[in-house]
């Protein structure tokens, strides 16, 4: 996004570039196709790549008005880049903090265990320097030969997220004074053997180049100045990916040196606790004295990250309902790692800032605390106009197109969004007991359709029944409809909550809703009621335990507490109705909200194989040559050989008879010849050309060669597989469907 890149943002340069984007499913960052460029290409510009024959110069359409603002454009581009950097840094640091806080408890637990284990090892006896470095083992009780082993369950089959976690763990333990070495599964490969992992271990401890990796070096190092007062911790990232025999050699060796080098192992386990049982033989398991620790599940971590980034809106950047849905589906079905979620978020952020001209306002709007980060001078008319052109602005029919109203709108946007996040958090708080995921809740809360339907619903109901008791029946009307599934569930949960928990929940809500005064007041009121109720009921409980059959008072209490629950539920329903306005329903939301899910999907998934197939089947769409483009779906001889071959392959099943395939290919090519002849007659080319065509009528050999090349290309792209020994005259199709 350097200015130099922005300079050649003229349609001439940009049109091949956009084609470039279509051709490369893997691109992540690309230069902004700014609003202006989009407007230019409202008439789809014929983009050409290799064969440029159609004469439709797009430069003619270049509007002069827009070109005036070229310089401004560059300036704003820089501004947007800058604000992207600021916003993303903010998001990234927030995520880091969240993850660190989540792991803090487990890390402390692990450290405590390390200390305890170390003191246990020491209690077996202090060794003299000679004893500690002698070659023969110290004969003692069998249990002293066991290595203390912490098995850290990462709870996720995919391992990417935990690389960072273990690095952090190492750092944490190091800061507490332990000697730490982080080994990854790459160190435990069968190829390099036990020497490899010892070498990398020693390199980390000794920080010196070594000739031969020998464990006795570790023993003498440990006995040197001051080292022997602290435990030696070896962290192995992921034992499932380790080579079992190398790992077991490693463990046996350390168990042989157990007292001399008090090693404490920490091993990451991604699946179940059976994993060490599966990869290590029993005599090695005998050497381990395992403890287990559990990290937070990925869903928990996910919720924490979402809470901090998308709900509490640390940066103001938000995503639309569709994008949220896509990200959720990607997380749940595809990848399940936080890493890919964060990547998706980053891509969304980049795309937002590169596509949305006004996005630089985000920086001023949310990050600068005074809230008055907008400077009027920065917003000349041209940019201003963008804002008034935004569909959401028009939708809300704000008449005066002035800066005041614009500013007002922005602050209103900010206010409504914070209200929205408050309500979502309240719902999350309520649903926590029911294992309702914030991710699901978020997707639902962001849905503008649900909101609109809710609004209209309320309106009609108020009209029908103006007494206001309508809320009771609200959830009955949609007892378990798919819409409002999670929100409904959370509200229902509030209804069923016992007194003490309700009190706790209300207290939590009160903390959350400090900003919304009306609700805050109501909550206070309700809380005091619950408190009284609670006190009474507990007293009653005591009394009841003495005389069991006071069913009437019991009933009363049940009724009263039910009423309170009902009140709380009504309150949250009101909050959902009044305050939870999805970002897409707000004016000017385009500034803060990323909506283009297709772009995100393309960038994230790519789907290369499908792309290849589509391109092969419709090659003329890309080549845009004059000869084949008007053919439609019929095969023409002038088409690319590979494309013809692949089109022909569509007619076969999963096995293609080579002979048939070749014959049809040949006939296509030849028929094309005859047609080509026919065409050449019509064409304004001189007749001499026909004579020259005649002699180079493709011979059998050249057709065969072309066939072979095309088939090989198909094999290389992974669409077919070459004939096997078993069926020498058949190729196998590998990819089916799109």
């Amino acid at each position: 996004m350097a200015p130099s890149a922005a300079v050649d943002d003229s349609p001439f340069a940009s049109s091949p570039e956009t084609t470039e984007n279509h051709l490369q499913p893997f691109f992540v960052l690309h230069k902004a196709c700014s609003r202006k460029a989009e407007r230019v290409s409202t008439v789809p510009v014929k983009t050409r790549r290799r064969i440029d024959l159609c004469p439709s110069p797009p430069s003619a359409e270049k509007p002069e008005v827009e070109s005036v603002t070229e310089d401004d454009e560059i300036g704003y581009m820089n501004l947007r880049t800058e604000s992207f950097e600021i916003v993303w840094t903010k998001i990234e640091s927030t995520i880091k903090d969240v993850l660190r806080n989540i792991n803090a408890n487990v890390f402390n637990e692990i450290h405590q265990w390390v200390c305890e284990s170390f003191s246990t090892i020491r209690s077996f006896g202090e060794l003299t320097f000679r004893e500690a470095t002698q070659a023969f083992p110290i004969v003692s009780h069998a249990s002293s030969k066991q290595l203390f082993t912490g098995l850290v369950l990462t709870k996720n089959m995919e391992f990417v997220d935990d690389l960072l976690t273990f690095k952090e763990l190492g750092r944490h333990l190091k800061s507490q004074g332990c000697h730490v070495a982080n080994l990854s599964s790459l160190d435990f490969m069968a190829k390099s053997g036990i020497g490899g992992c010892l070498r990398s271990l020693l390199r980390q401890f000794l920080a010196a180049p070594l000739d031969a990796a020998d464990i006795s070096i570790l023993a003498s190092w440990y006995r040197e100045q001051g080292n022997c007062d602290n435990p030696v911790v070896v962290i192995v990232d992921d034992i499932e990916r380790c080579c079992g025999s190398v790992l077991s050699d490693f463990i046996l060796m350390f168990s042989e040196w157990s007292l001399k080098v008090p090693v404490i192992l920490i091993m990451g386990v991604t699946t179940t606790l059976d994993a060490p049982r599966n990869i290590l033989p029993s005599n090695v398991l005998q050497c381990l004295c395992p403890y287990k620790f559990t990290l937070g599940t990925p869903t928990e971590r996910m919720d924490a990250v979402i809470e901090a980034v998308l709900v509490k809106q640390c940066s103001g950047f938000s995503v639309s309902h569709k994008v949220a849905l896509f990200m959720r589906n990607y997380f749940v079905r595809q990848d399940g790692t936080l890493t890919s979620f964060i990547r998706a978020l980053k891509i969304a952020c980049v795309q937002h800032f590169s596509m949305e001209p006004l996005s630089f306002i985000l920086k001023g709007l949310f990050l600068e605390e005074d809230g008055q980060g907008l400077q009027e001078e920065l917003l000349p008319q041209a940019i201003f106009k963008h804002a008034f052109d935004l569909p959401s602005y028009g939708r809300y029919k704000i008449e005066e197109q002035k800066f005041e109203s614009f500013g007002h709108c922005l602050s209103e946007l900010k206010r409504l969004q914070s209200q929205w996040s408050t309500v979502v958090l309240c719902l999350y708080e309520a649903g926590k007991g029911d294992q309702i995921r914030l991710l699901d809740l978020l997707c639902e809360a962001l849905d503008p359709a649900t909101y609109n339907c809710r609004i209209s619903d309320r309106r009609t109901k108020v009209e029908k029944d103006p007494t206001g008791s309508s809320n009771d029946s609200w959830h009955q009307q949609y007892p378990l409809s798919r819409r409002d599934h999670f929100i409904c569930q959370a509200i229902r949960k509030v209804r069923d909550l016992p007194g003490a928990q309700l009190y706790k929940l209300l207290k939590r809500w009160e903390e959350l809703t400090v900003d919304i005064i009306e609700i805050h007041e109501k909550l206070k009121e309700l809380k005091s009621l619950v408190k009284v109720e609670n006190g009474r009921s507990s007293k009653q409980d005591m009394a009841n335990s003495f005389k069991r059959h006071s069913s009437r008072s019991q009933l009363n209490i049940v009724k009263e507490s039910k009423a309170l629950n009902e009140k709380a539920a009504t309150l949250i329903e009101c909050m959902v109705g009044d305050y939870m306005q999805p970002v897409e329903c707000l004016p000017l939301h385009e500034i803060v909200c990323f909506q283009n899910v297709e772009k995100l999907q393309l960038a994230l998934i790519g789907d290369p194989r499908r792309r290849i197939q589509v391109d092969l089947l419709e090659s003329y769409k890309i080549l845009r040559c004059s000869c084949c483009s008007r053919s439609g779906h019929s095969l023409l001889p002038s088409m690319h050989d590979t494309s013809i071959l692949y089109n022909l392959a569509q007619e076969h099943g999963d096995h293609i008879n080579l002979h048939d395939w070749y014959q049809s290919f040949k006939s296509k090519v030849l028929s094309s010849r005859s047609k080509g002849k026919h065409k050449s007659k019509q064409s304004p080319l001189p007749k001499k050309r026909k004579d020259t065509n005649e002699p180079d009528k493709p011979c059998e050999a050249s057709i065969q060669a072309r066939f072979c090349r095309a088939a090989t290309e198909l094999q290389i792209t992974g669409l077919i597989r070459m004939p096997t020994k078993r069926r020498p005259d058949y190729v196998q199709r590998v990819a089916f469907g799109l």
């Binding site: 023969f136 287990k292 749940v332 998934i605």
Partner: protein, 540 residues
Amino acid sequence: MAKEKEESVQISRRTTRSSATAYNNNGIESAKPNVSHTPTLDDLVFGQEPISLDDLLSSFPGRRVQILELLRLLGTINSSMPPLFIYGSASTGKTSIVLQIFRRLSRPFVYTSCLSCYSPRILFESILNQLLLHKKNAVNGYSSAKRCEKPSDFVNLLREALTNVIDSLKANLGKTSTTKLKGQVNGRMIYLIFDKFELVREWDKSSSILSFLFGLCDILKMAEVGVIFISNNSLDTYHSNTGYVEPIPVHFPEYTEDDLRQIFMRNQANRKLYSSFLDVVLRPFCRITRRVDELSTAFSMLFKKYCEPLNDLGVVPNEEMKRRLFSHLQPHVAPSLNERFRIASQPSLDCEVNQETRRKGSARKSGASGDLDEIDFHMSTSAKYLLISAFLASRNPATLDASLFDSTGGSDSRKRKRKASEKSIEQKEAAEQELLMKGPGTFSLERLLAIFQCITSVAEDLLGEEEEGNDKLGVELGSNTLMSDVLLQLTSLCNSNFIIKGGSCPLEGSTRYRSTVSEDLSLKVARSVKFPLSKYLYRR
């Protein structure tokens, strides 16, 4: 391997610590070792007070014959010795007894474990370092005294070093012949001990290094050098070449039940109580393992259980109490017989969620870890489907795929099943046996992907229902994305050992896969995505 040494060592350690400064001039405090540590010949002996023969014999119950045999073979002081080959299965006290014998004899020796010294070079250098009294430290950059990789170099360096050591031993002998201090070098023989010798066989797959070490005695031709090999396996398992003297084998047989009882009865505080405990557990456990280390860990846990109902551990149990304790212990014995690996969670956590651990304990007993209907780690949905399809591909014969995954789906398979059950029972059993012996079948990537697509299209309906309410978009995305990253997912399944990437099929040349997932786990996974797995399983 060392449990039997427990008592003696505890004594010796105590004495060492108190006496280290008294007469062991090497026993410097570890804080500043290399400043004042000057290695002497005394480093080559065991370094602790020699023990009497009675102590030696009593600390190794059931090993009287072997100890006496070894002492006889080692011979009197300064007498030369043919190479020894000590063998016996794991944890029968080989290493400990040899070390304790050398402690008793106070003769110099060089010990190397072929486990720690995992390559010839490290083995050679370790031996030379010990002989040259070289200690690695920060000053010399943790390097060895001599760099030595080839056996021929090693022989030269070894001979040189040995001559030096023997010379100084002889000089030493003349000096201290009158007054013999404890813990000092005795005699002019030096012994090379190779422990865990069986590992050498795997070093380079060639027997060159093996026959070299076996022939070391012959090559050196020094009467003052004794060589001792300690191994798990008998001499027959080594490809013995001609050209060197066969070492004298000394066999350490497995302990008998009585030996084990004696071993475990040593240094027990309450012998009566422990003996009654052993009455209960020793016999069933002996049928499974006689390894002392395995037994001792199992017993220490069980003994704690056994003592749970007792207030006073010093009590002498009577018949009635024994019966009571037995009935208390009874339910714990059988599960711990099968248990190889006990995982404790953090003690602090234990107190907090005592209830939970108890529940988990019962779950463990039943053989499953964690909840019954939940997998306790995260997998993405497509990984789950892939796992299921891999399981199906491994379980079902490939010929059945068409009938299982055609449009009619599972209904067809039911018919076929009835037909199958009409067949004779013997045939069925034979087939089952065969399946058990063969293990899960292999499958090609294409087959896996085909099944994957079939079952996802089935499941798509289910998912679709769920998604419908949310958005049309959800469905669209779902059907697309479920397919795209499959190969990536396959890699991560391979990485977590759920699917094993096998060698290639000789006929086709493509990679074959094999699923190693247990039926339990795959059923759990199927339940979590609501996939009717049992409908698709081919049962004979």
